[in-house]
């Protein structure tokens, strides 16, 4: 088993690595050989959307997932998450990796069809709605201020609206635009997301999809599916 990266960040503002994060690490570890073969020896663009603490991107960088020829561009809305991702990478000596985090919404600012490996642990908890993005002026690290609204960032990392699928659908519906022609996506679901229905829908759109890992974690059943053309 590959070692889990050391993470240090402020869990009042950034999602703390939990069962879902660890399942994603296990799925990527399990598929390590598959990924290196699937993506070949080209320079792969790897985008983790909503990188949070940075544990998943750091794990990939430490273990040359998908290969030693990878460019890591993790994204998050939350400025504190970007900051944590940078420090988690530093703590785990990833200094020889090509690593350049960007603050953005999902992959909406990445040029079309460039991402070779997309990894997404979404806000998957069913909720009445997806929270609004907190205002930048008072919560960004650059502003140097803190107030109660920082906890709004945690809600944003957790709550996924209807069926917990509102944000995940934004990625799946844009997957054709996000993924390179030979790209692949790993997405995490909980049982209340109705992953079997989602997968069926994606297959009808022509996507290949397979279950990579699933696990009962407390009262949740989590699963990770990969999607490719």
């Amino acid at each position: 088993m590959l070692p889990t990266p050391h993470v240090s960040c402020d869990y009042d503002k950034v999602y703390e690595p939990s069962e879902d994060s660890f399942l994603l690490l296990d799925a990527l570890e399990k598929d390590r050989a598959f990924l290196s073969q699937f993506l070949g020896s080209k320079a792969a663009l790897v985008c983790e959307l909503g990188c949070g603490s940075g544990i998943v991107t750091t794990f990939m960088m430490q273990n040359d997932i998908p290969s030693k020829y990878a460019i890591y561009v993790p994204t998050d809305l939350n400025p504190w998450a970007i900051e944590s991702t940078v420090s988690t990478a530093q703590r785990n000596e990833c200094d020889q990796q090509i690593f350049s985090p960007v603050r953005m919404n999902l992959a909406h600012s990445v040029r079309s069809r460039q991402i070779d490996l997309l990894v997404f642990n979404p806000p998957y908890v069913p909720a009445e709605s997806v929270p609004k993005v907190p205002s930048d002026l008072d919560t960004s690290p650059a502003a140097g201020q803190e107030d109660d609204s920082t906890s709004d960032w945690l809600d944003l990392a957790l709550l996924g609206g209807d069926d917990g699928m509102v944000v995940t659908w934004k990625v799946l519906e844009n997957l054709d635009d996000f993924l390179a022609p030979e790209g692949i996506a790993y997405v995490l679901f909980c049982a209340r997301n109705k992953p079997l229905e989602v997968v069926k829908h994606m297959q009808l759109q022509g996507w290949k999809s397979e279950l990579v890992e699933h696990r009962k974690a407390g009262w949740e059943v989590l699963s990770i599916y990969k999607f490719y053309r």
Partner: protein
Amino acid sequence: MKFLTSNFLKCSVQDCDRSNDNFPLKFNGEKCQLEQDESLEFNPQFLLRIIDRVDWPAVVSVAADLGNSSLPPSKPEFADEELSEEDMVILRDLHTLLIQTNIVEGEMVCRNCGHIYYIKNSIPNLLLPPHLA
């Protein structure tokens, strides 16, 4: 952000997807502060693969924004098997530019809608204000 990252970023405004001017973003050279990260080791095999996938005109255009007009207009080509001394010189230069150059502070503008994106502490912020998102 690394210079290389500019090759993957476009304007976040959805309407700009219909124009050809949302990529690359135009850097305001006067406002940009660059830093060289010399700790990153030169890896010619990796660099060849990176050059293979980049949009070369965008590399040339961003380099020019940042004050480097020395790049050839068309993508350099390399014979895969053995790299000549001359190839290595070019590859080292591109390593310095694409991988070691960090844009620490600065501004990027969409050439279609004119929206300005800021880079602070090496992190570009591509989020849109609520009225544009």
